[in-house]
């Protein structure tokens, strides 16, 4: 129909290797970006921005982080929550120690602390794989959670063991803390998420991303092509943890405003893992699908169900939404075990050859 590449001839490898080789994709992405920049901030109210859009973007970024490690490099991890926590606490300490430096720089720097921790806990991956590796990353998760509770220095000896985000500005506009407007925070989050996603896409389509996928798909052959497993695996842990750390810092600074250790518990790790699996392992767009499915859909259901006449009380609505989400997860995974991203790709493939069943 309208989505096909007929007539779009590529005359150079550069043209063939661009991120969106099909013109309709480029138009679609341009429309999405235009909506995100020009429509969402002016249409969405404070609640939608603060409770739905901002956490969705941050969690999508965390899912990209996990996807680098699990989806692209094939190393299963249950420590995402812990690594996000390292980023959040590192950012909090940086803001405390260097209050005059811009908070954006702190957020970007805090990822490096998470990356360092990630590399240390990635060392077992050199010897063990699969579920056994997942268990060692579980150890990371519990150890880091313990740190967040037992090391009072991390939360500046606050008696409630919580970290509270101070108000910080960018170009004179308040972007963190309770008084910051949703629109200001939204633009900062959007910029960081788009920037990081683009950088990750570049990594993945280049030499380093291919090395990760080689290790994932057939580690013995990868070694024979000259890949050093040590460097490939640890770099995946480092990049993944960096992204997760930045996402963790953003989670507290732009969404929660204040957080306690329980925020970065194993529950968050699982939530991110489910986002990655349902969205599609080894897919960046899938990370956004997964985050939308797990984060936005339950909220929408809680709003829609009463609106559709299911007036059964707030508590029951909440349970109802959980049940529907659970059923949908099972449904989608049966329809396509490789996640929403694969469904999306199949759909596009069918459109390209429509009205014929195959090319």
């Amino acid at each position: 129909m309208f989505y096909r590449e007929t007539g779009q001839f590529k005359t150079s490898y550069t043209a063939d290797q661009q991120i969106f080789p099909i013109r309709q994709d480029r138009i679609g992405v341009a429309i999405i970006l235009a909506v995100a920049l020009l429509v969402v901030p002016f249409v969405a109210n404070e609640f939608v921005l603060s409770a739905i859009v901002i956490p969705f973007l941050v969690l999508a970024l965390a899912t990209i982080g996990l996807n680098i490690l699990t989806g692209y490099a094939g190393q299963l991890s249950l420590g995402t929550g812990g690594f996000m926590g390292v980023g959040a606490y590192a950012c909090y300490k940086l803001v405390t120690i260097f209050p005059d430096v811009n908070v954006i720089i702190h957020i970007l720097l805090s990822g490096f602390f998470a990356a360092a921790v990630g590399v240390v806990f990635g060392l077992p991956s050199l010897r063990i794989k699969g579920l056994y590796l997942a268990v060692t990353t579980l150890a990371a998760q519990f150890f880091l959670e313990w740190c967040f509770i037992r090391i009072p220095w991390l939360y500046n000896y606050n008696p409630s063991a919580a970290i509270e985000v101070p108000g910080k500005t960018l170009f004179g506009v308040l972007i963190t803390g309770p008084a910051a407007s949703g629109v200001a925070r939204y633009f900062v989050v959007l910029a960081i998420v788009i920037g990081m996603t683009l950088l990750m896409k570049n990594l993945i389509r280049g030499r380093i991303g291919r090395q990760w996928m080689m290790i994932r798909d057939m580690d013995i052959a990868a070694e024979l092509m000259g890949v050093r497993p040590l460097i490939a695996k640890l770099s995946a842990f480092a990049v993944s943890s960096y992204i997760c750390g930045v996402a963790g810092a953003m989670f507290v600074f732009f969404y929660l405003g204040a957080s306690e250790p329980a925020v970065f518990s194993i529950t968050l790790s699982f939530q991110i893992l489910f986002m990655a699996i349902i969205g599609g392992l080894g897919s960046l767009v899938g990370s956004f699908f997964g985050a939308a499915f797990i984060w936005i859909l339950p909220i929408l259901l809680r709003v829609w169900l009463p609106a559709m006449g299911f007036d059964i009380g707030a508590e029951a609505i909440f349970q109802m939404a959980q049940i529907i989400i659970g059923a949908l997860i099972i449904f989608f995974l049966i329809v396509e075990p490789h996640g929403l991203a694969r469904l999306w790709a199949i759909g596009k493939e069918k459109l390209r050859v429509w009205p014929f069943p195959y090319a």
Partner: protein
């Protein structure tokens, strides 16, 4: 990196060796796993520019021999000299860096990647732009990617697999998977190409195609090839010299004709007790 106009050459590095000089020399190599002796005191050489077949009944130690050559197994005794450099232990990525490429008995492609990416993965050691260039994917990093893509496209043309360029390799039929795997090894521009049963499980037509590709690689690029193969017709037709293993020992070595008439080889294949 080469300029975009670099002409097509997959010749290995200029190592000062002439065709016929010894490229790889295996001396008195023994390999055991606990009490099981996989290889016992085997010596043979591979000369530059030749097609060298390694044959033998099942369990003779052929694949173990390849694994020793490219560093997966470390022999307890003996040395291996590649381009005159003797070594006992080597890591697989070091073997790759020194110019040894390999295909596997069971296709070992990267299943989640396209044909193009699989062959591009063979260029790993030819790409050097660092992490930060890769992040930005502009300037030198992109030029490097494009220059290597050009090489890969030449291999794709050579192997006649243009139509499956963007297909995930998991969806390809077996014969094409084997061809992509050959392409991936060729992308490394190896000095020595090890092929572990390149024609296993193929029909006659596919075997003929593969034989033609092997001969063309040897002829056009001057690549030295060592292959393990069970199809005696193919082995006798395409190889310059044959080494025969049985129960981890060498029982024959020479031209196809010499090997064909070797009493030990005939006994081994016919199952005469020995």
């Amino acid at each position: 990196m080469n300029s975009p106009a670099a002409h097509f050459s997959l010749h290995g590095r200029d190592d000062g060796l002439n065709p016929g000089d010894v490229l790889l020399d295996v001396r008195n190599v023994s390999l055991a796993f606990g009490g099981v002796k996989a290889i016992t005191d085997i010596s043979f050489d591979i000369r530059k520019g030749e097609i060298r077949a390694i044959i033998g009944p099942n369990g003779a130690g052929k694949t173990s021999m390849l694994n020793v050559i490219n560093g997966f197994y470390h022999p307890q005794q003996g040395t291996i000299s590649f381009r005159g450099e003797a070594r006992r232990r080597m890591q697989p990525h070091a073997a790759a860096a020194s110019g040894i490429a390999r295909t596997f008995q069971n296709v070992a492609l990267f299943k989640g990647m396209s044909t193009l990416d699989n062959i591009m993965s063979g260029r790993t050691l030819k790409m050097h732009r660092n992490f930060f260039w890769q992040l930005l994917h502009v300037g030198p990093a992109r030029d490097e990617e494009i220059a290597n893509r050009r090489k890969v496209e030449e291999i794709i043309d050579f192997l006649e697999i243009q139509h499956i360029r963007k297909t995930p390799v998991g969806k390809l039929p077996y014969g094409l998977q084997k061809r992509v795997e050959l392409g991936r090894a060729l992308a490394m521009e190896p000095d020595l190409l090890l092929l572990d049963e390149p024609m296993a499980g193929m029909n006659l037509e596919e075997k003929e195609d593969m034989s033609r590709f092997i001969l063309d690689v040897n002829d056009q690029f001057g690549t030295t090839i060592a292959l393990i193969e069970h199809d005696m017709g193919v082995v006798m037709d395409i190889s310059d010299r044959v080494v025969v293993l049985d129960y981890g020992r060498k029982i024959g070595d020479g031209t196809p004709d010499e090997v064909k008439n070797n009493r030990d080889v005939i006994d081994a294949y016919l199952g005469v007790p020995h």
